[in-house]
């Protein structure tokens, strides 16, 4: 899953439906920013980092099972996608760390 998504949501600050940038750290919601008024809602970074660590642990633990499920369902697609997925993994991790340290 991408870590930044652009969606239209209602803004509690400027009271309209506007494009929002929604940012995630892994599977966890990190922040939202309204493109109209700049209103930002963000989790406390220390709390987000704690939750992220627990979530990463869970992701690592369940990864073999999730991979196996995908291999069984789509063996060809899995084999074709694996090299690309491995190549982009470091960039994905870096993006997650940037969110966790408030650098984006």
């Amino acid at each position: 899953m991408d870590h930044v998504h652009n969606v239209v949501l209602a803004c509690s600050h400027c009271h309209g439906e506007h494009l929002h940038e929604v940012t995630y750290a892994g599977r966890l919601l990190a922040s939202t920013v309204c493109s109209n008024c700049g209103h930002r809602i963000a989790k406390n970074l220390a709390g987000l980092r704690r939750a992220y660590l627990a979530d990463v642990e869970h992701r690592v633990r369940t990864k073999p099972r999730r991979m196996l499920r995908r291999v069984i369902r789509h063996p060809v697609a899995f084999a074709l996608d694996l090299p690309g997925a491995l190549l982009v993994k470091p960039a994905k991790m870096e993006a997650e760390l940037r969110v966790l340290y408030g650098r984006r």
Partner: protein, 241 residues
């Protein structure tokens, strides 16, 4: 999955009208929420009840590919029919009902549940309650009392007149399939476009709508803030509502 009498219930999840799109923005129901898409959580509540054997997801044509990918990844092995929605909620519901029409006419589908994809936190208990009430009375909707609401008169003054026992309506809403399909066909013949499923059934089939208790956790993701609330509710409930 059929019930002992050979019939099943159907769950329709509406994801065609959820939010506006600007440029390359995405429909909000495909946003991740605690590791799965919002729409997956909304479908998941129906999957938990064995009596609901048919699932229909109503999508925008441009979201079809994304919806297929999400279902394949997040609900593997769960049969979900994709139906392209219309311009309005009413039209989307009608298209989903037409998709099920043969089974409804053949008596294979007993009750149809209609749910907003943007409500990912509907507890199973609510689904059981609306389903049970619809089987008894014909149609049922969940709702919460408007405890902190006041009326305002034409001059802008607070008024207690006319407020009565107003409620805030939620989904999923449940209806006997035959009268629901008949109501939508009659509405189509009339050129009527309703804003509410229950109102359409009541207007054309005269089926009284039973109100059951809603749940404050069953929020609709509308504001950006709602995403944080939804994630917190899921985390504090151990991801099992």
């Amino acid at each position: 999955m059929t019930r002992q009498d050979g019939t099943t219930h159907a769950g329709i999840v509406l994801a065609a009208g959820s939010g506006t799109r600007v440029g390359n923005s995405r429909n909000k129901v495909y946003l991740p929420l605690a590791g799965r898409r919002i729409v997956t959580w909304s479908l998941e509540v129906f999957r938990k009840l064995p009596g609901i054997g048919r699932l229909v997801l109503v999508v925008r044509d441009e979201d079809r590919e994304l919806a297929t990918e999400v279902l394949d990844r997040e609900l593997p092995g769960v049969p979900v029919d994709l139906v392209t929605g219309g311009e309005t909620r009413h039209e989307s519901e009608y298209r989903a009902l037409l998709h099920l029409a043969d089974e409804i006419r053949g008596g294979e589908i007993d009750v149809v549940l209609v749910h907003d994809a943007a409500r990912p936190l509907a507890p199973v208990k609510i689904v059981e309650e609306v389903l049970g009430a619809a089987m008894r009375t014909g149609s049922a909707i969940p709702a919460l009392p408007l405890e902190d609401a006041v009326g305002v008169d034409e001059a802008g003054r607070m008024s207690h007149a006319g407020r009565g026992d107003m409620v805030r309506v939620q989904t999923p809403q449940a209806f006997r399939s035959g009268p629901l399909l008949a109501a939508y066909q009659a509405a189509a013949a009339d050129g009527f476009t309703g804003t509410d499923t229950a109102a359409c059934v009541e207007r054309y089939e005269g089926v009284p709508v039973q109100v059951v208790s809603g749940d404050p956790r069953n929020i609709k993701v509308t504001y950006a803030d709602d995403l944080f609330t939804a994630e917190l509710i899921l985390a504090t409930s151990g991801y099992e509502l």
